[in-house]
Symmetry: C2
Subunit: 360 residues, 2 copies
Amino acid sequence: MNSNNYAVIMAGGIGSRFWPVSRAGYPKQFLDILNTGKTLLQSAYDRFTGFIPGNNIYVVTAEEYVTIVREQLPLLPPENIIGEPSRKNTAACIALIAFKLRKMNGKANLVVAPSDHLVSNEQQFQKDCIKGLEFTAENKAFVTLGIKPANANTGYGYIQREAVAVEKGIYPVKRFTEKPDAATAALFIKDNAYLWNSGIFIWKVIDILNAFCFYMPDMHELFVCGMGGFNTPFEKATVNHIYEHCESVSIDYAIMEKANDVYVIPADFGWSDLGTWNSAWENLHRDKAGNAVAGDNTLLVDSRGCMVHSSEKKLLLVGGIDDLIIVNTPDALLICKKENEQHIKLYVEKLKQTGGDSYL
Amino acid sequence: MNSNNYAVIMAGGIGSRFWPVSRAGYPKQFLDILNTGKTLLQSAYDRFTGFIPGNNIYVVTAEEYVTIVREQLPLLPPENIIGEPSRKNTAACIALIAFKLRKMNGKANLVVAPSDHLVSNEQQFQKDCIKGLEFTAENKAFVTLGIKPANANTGYGYIQREAVAVEKGIYPVKRFTEKPDAATAALFIKDNAYLWNSGIFIWKVIDILNAFCFYMPDMHELFVCGMGGFNTPFEKATVNHIYEHCESVSIDYAIMEKANDVYVIPADFGWSDLGTWNSAWENLHRDKAGNAVAGDNTLLVDSRGCMVHSSEKKLLLVGGIDDLIIVNTPDALLICKKENEQHIKLYVEKLKQTGGDSYL
């Protein structure tokens, strides 16, 4: 394995769409939504261990989740877990890890990936990452992995690639489009130049730092001033100071949409952002009646299209019901229609209003 | 209180229609289906304590439930709990208590009632029972309480009364009709001569024993031979022997449908046989959206017409769903449509087939 290659897993997200399995104190990336035996974070970590040296894998998360990450990834060196003092979106997170790596290895070449996505074909994922790393090692390039769209999803960003590849399977990016409206998305998916933005990026540390210097000079300056503190006992105080003054902005908006030398590798490794119970349903094995069940001790009779998640031993008997989301946890049970999954946030809001804070 | 008046509560039933709250080892009469703070048996007992001397109240149940009855009715003398060695329907049960009482009190006058029905107006119930007891004390008469039908239910037996009362509110019975078809039931409820058979009977012990002698001579003979054993340490062995040889038949079929001197008191004390989750729903307080909730810690958002029973502290959040039955117990959870409540037996059967015996 190439000792200049690094991976950073971004694991700071929160989210209530997987409530009641996900909670503010224990969000999605730390859960085994699909009942695979591994949490999403553990799967994200395992995906990298095949081609990134173990000591070169980092996890950036919120400070309050550091303990959970340690528990879930016992083989990861504790110093490779970085707790952010506040949520400042992806740009700050990437600047932080880039500056830390810069102090360690001037040739560091980095894959950045979210912790809470699903990848069903790990071999293909590895191939695509290695292709990107080899390309960025040789070139000043900001590479993204673009997913072949499965449908006209309006919840994702889209990447339009140029027609001609610079290398086999690597295309210059023409344009980024944030979440399009339905009509635009419908046009996009008819054109194979459009890809979903997976949020997986590859670049040399030196190149992304130069880009920060050029496109985000204030943020860059803040981090440069903290340079002395990174990878020392003073790192925590340094990062606290930087984050207090640092802008909250996404790496897409801060750099990718503005930079030159942006490339995309069209990828097809069974990706899902696993954003909702419906996408869990889509990614789980479904029985003949279209029911997806994550959990044991459930019996569905004469029922179709249900998404059932149960992290309890309790027997769950569902009779004669179609297209429900049923989520059973030790202290809370949710029942709603699949078509209403976007309302789960509203239900949880209602719960908050009625004094149910302890379930959030 | 008249020391010749007795009550016997029949508490031997089993039933799977309230699964998963009711189980074979803990059927409906021992449960607080409506979350009132009392089980149905406790409510049945309490209804009698206002006008029947405490020592004159008896409970007949299956042998395996005797312990439960003792726990639930600690004020009832233990010798007033009679365990049947097998299920032989209502005729044998009534013969047994009648023979026992005959040995104690030749003037015994008895109300027989099921343990698992609901009565919302206890005062009216008491008035109707006292009216019946006063009538049977003075007359050779077999009195039933007939319920004014609320709808064309095809699950009940109907009683047709004569037009003219023999005393205020007491009518001779013209005919009993077992569960009619829908068309017949629709005709019945247009005619105020028809009443539902509540299974509540009133008669002197001496009169019902004479009726057994006449209409059920074999059964009568069996019990007469056992006479020496009743109310002695040999009662259990005696009853075991009788039940081994005794016919299984309902008191309606055995005597009421054949006897002369059968009367009905039209009654309206908020009766329900509470046979299914839908009838529980009908008898519970319902919110503006028509949801009936027995249990704490539930939140229904944008949901209508649901029947929710929860005997657990777990939060139950139901969002955007109409007309479901949701029953949550510590070890099992049932979700089905209200319209499919008759299928619950099938679901439980399926559960049995798939090895879920421990939940039955």
